[in-house]
């Protein structure tokens, strides 16, 4: 087991910069999600850490040892592929045994280790099956058992849950997290699913166009995004744009919005404020007039009822603001109704416009 340090990593394919000066410290034993849209470089970064491809510049260290020029077969990593990549010509047990077998372990040791790994992923009785006889979730478990049986220094997962249906995916998230805790292995997880990143990881790194946009614990990124991209990619956010007043912004129509979090900026420059839909209160009439509260008037244009909550789309000054209201059974607003939106400065994050 070991931590992974990536420093100033860059990799280009022709004119395309797949990774641009990325530095991340993956702590020993942590569960780390690399999140980004397709083409953001998250898979390229994972393949660099695995050793399938070498960087143009920069350093990769596993457990303090420089590995950026070490080929994958000598890096002692474990990897789970998006489509599992189980060997079709081998049984489940032989798949799991592969890593130990190529290392020349003796048969008795291999058999015992394979059984332990299969028991860990709760497939102890299926060793003699062939991969094509298994369900998607079972294949996923075999791929995981095969990756960890060799006791790798780091576990790399490339969108491992992408091919599973929703209910199974949630089960596997819990399962994966349990196994990761049990063996305490440093885990790096590539996903484009923000919910998966939020629920599973200790830390998240958001990538965009080959650059690391923001990095930190899920709560920190969600509560204080440092860019409009981070705010809208991880969770949902309303973005209000205007001129800074130092501690907030003034919208084009003159309304002042106070921000309690985010950067402090010199007055007069362009900036935006991000507000999460669930932090906004929605009311008819004059609402709560409080000098600590940001307030906007608008008109409900659409309401989507989702059982436990409702999403309201409120139009104001040619902008749509999204509000999510828990279903408490008290208030249901109709489309076309005039409303007042209010939220606290603490729920408002000031973001510099780059």
């Amino acid at each position: 087991m070991a931590g992974v340090q990536v420093s100033n990593l860059s990799r280009s394919f022709g004119a395309h910069k797949a990774l641009d000066d990325v530095s991340i410290d993956f702590a020993d034993g942590g569960f780390y999600a690399l999140l980004g849209p397709s083409g953001s470089g998250k898979t390229t970064l994972l393949r660099q850490i695995a050793g399938f491809d070498f960087p143009d510049t920069g350093r990769i260290a596993i457990g303090g040892e420089s590995v950026e020029r070490v080929p994958v077969e000598k890096r002692r990593i474990g990897m789970v592929f998006q489509n599992y990549a189980l060997f079709p010509n081998m049984s489940v047990a032989d798949n799991v045994a592969f890593g130990l077998s190529v290392r020349g372990e003796v048969k008795a040791v291999i058999a015992a280790e394979v059984q332990r790994a299969l028991d860990l992923v709760q497939l102890g009785k299926l060793g003699s099956r062939r991969p094509h006889q298994l369900s998607g979730g079972q294949r996923q478990r075999v791929a995981l058992a095969r990756a960890i049986v060799t006791k790798p220094r780091v576990l790399l997962l490339d969108e491992p849950l992408g091919a599973l249906d929703k209910a199974l995916r949630v089960d596997m998230q819990i399962e994966l997290k349990r196994i990761q805790r049990e063996i305490g292995i440093t885990t790096i997880f590539v996903t484009h699913d923000q919910e998966e990143a939020l629920t599973m990881s200790d830390r998240i790194g958001i990538l965009r166009e080959g650059r690391l946009v923001q990095e930190g614990p899920p709560e920190e990124i969600y509560d204080s995004p440092k860019s409009e991209f981070a705010a809208t990619f991880l969770g949902d956010a309303n973005i209000l744009r205007g001129d800074t007043t130092g501690t907030g912004i003034r919208l084009p129509d003159g309304t002042a919005i106070a921000a309690g979090a985010g950067v402090s900026l010199a007055a007069g420059t362009k900036a935006s404020c991000a507000v999460r839909p669930e932090r906004i209160r929605i009311a008819t009439g004059d609402g709560i007039a409080d000098h600590n509260t940001n307030m906007l008037k608008g008109q409900v244009s659409k309401r989507i009822f989702a059982g436990n909550n409702s999403t309201y789309f409120v139009e104001r000054d040619s902008q749509t603001i999204k509000v999510i209201v828990q279903n408490t059974g008290i208030e249901r607003l109709a489309e076309g109704q005039e409303v007042v939106l209010s939220w606290s400065p603490e729920s408002t994050v000031l973001i510099a416009v780059s």
Binding site: F52, E73, F87, N89, F98, V102
Partner: protein
């Protein structure tokens, strides 16, 4: 309803005619190898004398041995070189790869008569001359593209992540090839090997150009024997070859469903 019936019936007739067209000459030849009359005369009288005579025909036996040896060695060389070439074309990107792949097809299309002439001139030019070794070289050159084409087709169905997965588990290049890639392409290798064997064993034109009297292969020897005067021993040797090669084909088809397994 009636038209469907007729169509169905015509379809069946078509299949039977096709099979008759393919097999009737072979069946007649096989029957005649057991007939007393050497001139295809009826009524049919059973005998095995032609098979006994075959044993005495030193020239036919030695030509058969030459043919088998050359076909087996050709198959081994082509399977090894061809599979390695297919793997290289699959794994690596290099300058001129497309060009090289395109160059693999023309030898299949060039008439053997022309290839044979070209080889004869070339082998004389470089001092190899004619003989069994020249025939072997010629057969390898003819059969190699078939193996590469068949194995490459099988590799198209191979998921490259399987090699990556094997490497991530610590397997070196050789272990990856032997334990993951080869088992997958094996049906293609076997099919390619059968092709190579058939190309070599059936080869007449190139062998005819490159052989010397007394140092020749079975098809060339059969041709020479027919020119001298037809004997039912030819029927006998042909029947043996057909039975052996059909048994080989059926056996292979039974063990490997070509391109089937997913």
């Amino acid at each position: 309803m009636a038209t469907t019936r007729i169509l169905e019936w015509l379809g069946r007739l078509y299949i039977w005619l096709l099979l008759a067209f393919l097999y009737l000459p072979i069946i007649i030849m096989a029957l005649m190898s057991f007939n007393v009359s050497p001139f295809y005369q009826l009524p049919f009288e059973w005998t095995t004398e032609w098979y006994a005579a075959l044993w005495q025909n030193e020239q036919l036996i030695s030509a058969t041995r030459n043919s088998l040896e050359i076909a087996i060695i050709t198959t081994i060389i082509c399977v090894v070189l061809g599979s390695a070439a297919s793997l290289a074309l699959f794994r690596y990107d290099f300058r001129g790869k497309k060009f090289l792949q395109a160059l693999l097809f023309p030898p299949i299309a060039i008439p053997w008569l022309i290839t044979g002439t070209a080889m004869l001139i070339f082998f004389f030019g470089v001092g190899i001359g004619r003989g069994l070794f020249a025939i072997l070289l010629g057969h390898v050159a003819l059969a190699l593209p078939y193996v590469i084409v068949v194995v490459s087709a099988r590799l198209q169905t191979f998921a490259p992540e399987l090699e990556e997965a094997a490497r991530s588990l610590g397997a070196n290049q050789w272990q990856v090839t032997r334990r993951v890639t080869l088992p997958w392409i094996m049906p293609g290798v076997i099919a390619g090997g059968l092709f190579a064997f058939a190309v070599s064993f059936d080869q007449f034109v190139v062998s005819y150009f490159l052989s010397t009297p007394g140092q020749t292969t079975l098809p060339v020897e059969i041709y020479a024997a027919i020119r001298k005067g037809f004997t039912p021993e030819i029927n006998a040797v042909s029947t043996i070859i057909i039975v052996v090669s059909m048994a080989l084909m059926l056996l292979t088809a039974r063990f490997f469903k070509f391109g089937g397994e997913k």
